[in-house]
Amino acid sequence: MSRSQTSTQLAILAAFLLAIFVVVPWIIAASGRFDLYYTLTSVALLSIASAGVWLTFYIGRINIGQGAYALMGGYVSAILVVQAGLSFWLTLPLAGMFCAAISVLIGLPILRLRGVYFAMVTLVLTEVARLTALALPITNGAKGMVSIPLPGPIGFGGFNLVPNFATLKTPNLAFYYLSMVLMCLCFGAMYRLVHSRIGKLCQSLQQNEELASSIGVNITLLRVIAYAISSFLGGLSGAIFVGIAQSIYPSSFTVTDSVNFMLNCFLGGLGYVFGPIIGTFLLYFGWDLLFQTGPYQLLIFSSLLIIFMLVLPNGLLSLNPFAGKKA
């Protein structure tokens, strides 16, 4: 990579960070559109979940089941906060790891399936997660869990690194910063992954499984690890949503959400690490804008989607270097 290329990239990165951490809050404060905080926070969190789906794609699988892990993560966090009295912040990694653990159990039998078969199973997974949430006593069934307290402080002694959200005048702003920071961390980590040797290993897996195996790549391990990380991200995303919404229901994440995560990746370009951010942003704002059409929202949305697939069947950025091989 040439020096000018690196410095251009760094400049873009700096501009982006400046935009989301400084410029946007300034614009919102100036325009008074504080509702936008929630919108942008949602975009950030949804893009984290979509990043997970992107990662599954990176190992050659079509994952339409991220909604299940978002739901699982959300419930784990909710249950731990409400019933075990744990700090919200502690439940975040716990929710993520719970999802990762479950995904290993599920992944071991299904990761060897390919294409449509794998997709089918993940789709069913989302629905089963919902049904389970409905059925188990601990999740409170259809009534869901409500009145979940806002995140508490992180601090030592009398000094708080992170304030108690309940004491904040605008917790939305705090959630915004939280989500943006996590989004940047998440995608930073993914960027590193893709550009490290591990990224090359995944690419080798995508391009030629047998050959990868014969040069010593443990494809099962790699797949399971990727899927576990993906599910971790899904669970994390769900857990934070619960913190914001302060409630969770079996229908909080459905098959539609799973499909949307997939869509975010596809729209942003499956070959680009930052694709999910773009895709989520476009889709979420698109959907939000259509809200004004009332009952026709879904109709118009799905029609536009169909038209999009007809016109650009290979996604927005179809200059994917590893397109052409059906995974």
């Binding site: 591990i198 050959l211 195996s213 040069i215 690890i225």
Partner: protein, 262 residues
């Protein structure tokens, strides 16, 4: 160059697919730094035998021992780790990577750092990467691919693809290299160069087992030859012995390959 001790033992290997017996009770040994070829008419079970040795298939009976330890039935990537590496019949490379990237990534088996090390760029990982780069360049020069170094594998002509395939095999630092039809589809000149290349591979200390149809090439390069027909070993010996063997001549006259070369 004298061959050393036995490095590979194929013992009574059989493989059934449903009712069809593709390989039937085949046994032979390969000595270190030897070049052994497996030949036979089409459909004789050579490819299946290869897959069995590299553990891409599990034998229905019998076993394969490498350096005295059983490798049959182990996961392919573990067998590769032990030093038995296979190249593929349909010149298989990573088409969307450059020549250099292909060979660098094939060094995977030589990594000392683990996945986390590579992710965080640990000291060991970085020295690994430096070594891989150096070794890849050395292999590229060895195979005469220096000009194609940064070209996408998908854009390479046939001969270079084959060389790349061998390069990938070499990158793993194998003790035993299984070459699946390395001379297929080559003209006379290309074959001579490929044969010389296989000879140089052996000089690096690698034992080579190859499956081939091209008789003149096989007879020229091999120390020993094993002949299969209908999944059964019908002969084994030096090239000269094989050429005089009645059963072998009969097997070949009965199929399309009429010439067994001289």
């Amino acid at each position: 160059m004298s061959a050393g001790e036995t490095i590979l033992e194929v013992k009574g290997i059989s493989r059934r697919f449903g009712g069809l017996v593709a390989v039937n009770d085949v046994s032979f040994n390969v000595a270190e730094k030897q070049i052994l070829s497996v030949i036979g008419p089409n459909g004789a079970g050579k490819s299946t035998l290869f897959k069995l040795i590299a553990s891409f298939l599990t034998p229905s009976a019998g076993e394969v021992l490498f350096q005295g330890a059983r490798i049959s039935g182990l996961s392919p990537h573990i067998v590769a780790r032990k030093g038995v590496v296979r190249t593929f019949q349909e010149t298989t490379v990573f088409k969307a990577m450059t020549v250099r990237e292909n060979i660098v990534i094939a060094h995977h088996l030589r990594s000392h750092a683990g996945l986390t090390g590579f992710y965080f760029g640990s000291q060991i990982a970085r020295s690994d990467e430096a070594e891989f780069g150096r070794s890849a360049d050395e292999i590229i020069d060895f195979l005469g691919l220096a000009e194609q170094r940064d070209k996408l594998a998908s854009s390479l002509p046939h001969g270079h693809l084959r060389a790349l395939g061998i390069g990938i095999g070499l990158a793993t630092n194998p003790k035993l290299l299984l070459l699946d039809e390395p001379f297929a589809g080559m003209n006379h000149d290309e074959t001579s160069r490929a044969v010389a290349m296989v000879g140089r591979v052996r000089e690096r200390g690698v034992t080579v087992v190859l499956v081939e149809h091209d008789m003149p090439a096989v007879m020229k390069i091999s120390d020993r030859v094993v002949v299969l027909n209908f999944g059964v070993k019908i002969a084994e010996g030096t090239p000269a012995e094989i050429q005089r063997n009645d059963k072998v001549i009969e097997a070949y006259l009965g199929s399309e390959d009429a010439s067994i070369g001289l």
